[in-house]
């Protein structure tokens, strides 16, 4: 058999890569990423964070407290009635022997919220055993 004839036989046999299973694998990975991401905890609120010139990176939120522009409180993305409830939720979830990251409570508050609203929340986080991870935005504040 000549070399040319051999090559033509290979071409006829054809190599098929099974790509159907690739779709299944990819969709499984998508489901994994969706479940691992945290965006669901933050959805549905209007929070304009305060600005500061130099800020650090905060860890991924395990515990998340927010106060929106309408001064409503949220714990883990769902509305909560009072700072006292936040304290009791946190004291159940935080162990004093946990690592710094595990004890960090991401606190996202709108820049226009009044002290009477956010101060009891800060106190509740501290009393619940949490370390406050206050969320901000890098920039300089425009002063009047």
């Amino acid at each position: 058999m000549t070399r040319r004839a051999h090559r033509s036989r290979v071409r006829k046999a054809g190599i098929l890569i099974p790509v159907v299973s690739m779709g299944d694998i990819a969709f499984l990975l998508i489901i994994f990423f969706i479940l691992c991401s945290n965006f669901a905890k933050k959805a549905g609120k209007t929070v304009e964070p305060p600005v500061s010139p130099e800020l650090d990176s905060l860890p991924k939120p395990r515990l998340y407290v927010a106060v929106d522009a309408e001064e409503k409180l949220y714990f883990q993305g769902r509305p909560i009635g009072s700072a006292a409830e936040i304290e009791s939720e946190l004291s159940q979830k935080i162990d004093p022997n946990d690592s710094l990251d595990a004890r960090t409570v991401i606190f996202e508050c709108d820049r226009g919220v009044r002290k009477e609203v956010f101060e009891p929340v800060l106190e509740a986080i501290a009393k619940g055993g949490g370390i406050i991870g206050a969320v901000g935005k890098e920039g300089t504040r425009k002063r009047p």
Binding site: S52, L55, L58
Partner: protein, 139 residues
């Protein structure tokens, strides 16, 4: 020519198939989107451990950072946030024993989170711990 025979000629022969090859491409594009979105959404801010209860009474010095609607005060003296950062840096709080890093911080009147956030950030950056004084008593 009848209607039936014309339709038969247009239709491809063989088994009907759903093209699934492009699914993998779409799925991998979505994965790339999720990976990028997850790494871009990291929160910025600062961490501060506010001492709860009696620890707050062990303040570092008599001086208090006072925040009011009409301005910021370091003790009795009005200061800007930049000046406060300088004053706190001069105290070298980070070099001190962890029990002596507490800086008293009191907010009075109609204060918003923006100003409060800046002061907490300044105390934290200087290596201090804010001992928050609540109106009407120490925390």
């Amino acid at each position: 020519m009848t209607r039936r025979s014309r339709r038969d000629r247009r239709r491809p022969r063989g088994e009907p198939e759903i093209p699934t090859q492009s699914f993998a491409d779409i799925a991998f594009l979505l994965i790339i989107y999720f990976i990028l979105a997850a790494s871009l959404s990291q929160d910025l801010g600062f961490r501060t451990d506010i001492p709860a209860g009696q620890k707050a009474t062990e303040a570092t010095e008599d001086r208090t950072v006072l925040l009011r609607q009409d301005g910021l005060f370091w003790g009795e003296r009005p200061v800007s946030i930049g000046e406060l950062r300088g004053e706190l840096a001069g105290m070298k709080l980070a070099d001190r024993d962890p029990n002596h890093r507490v800086v008293q911080f009191e907010a009075k009147g109609d204060v918003l989170w923006q100003s409060y956030f800046e002061v907490l950030d300044a105390i934290g950056k200087a290596g201090g711990q804010p001992g928050i004084v609540m109106e009407g008593g120490q925390k």
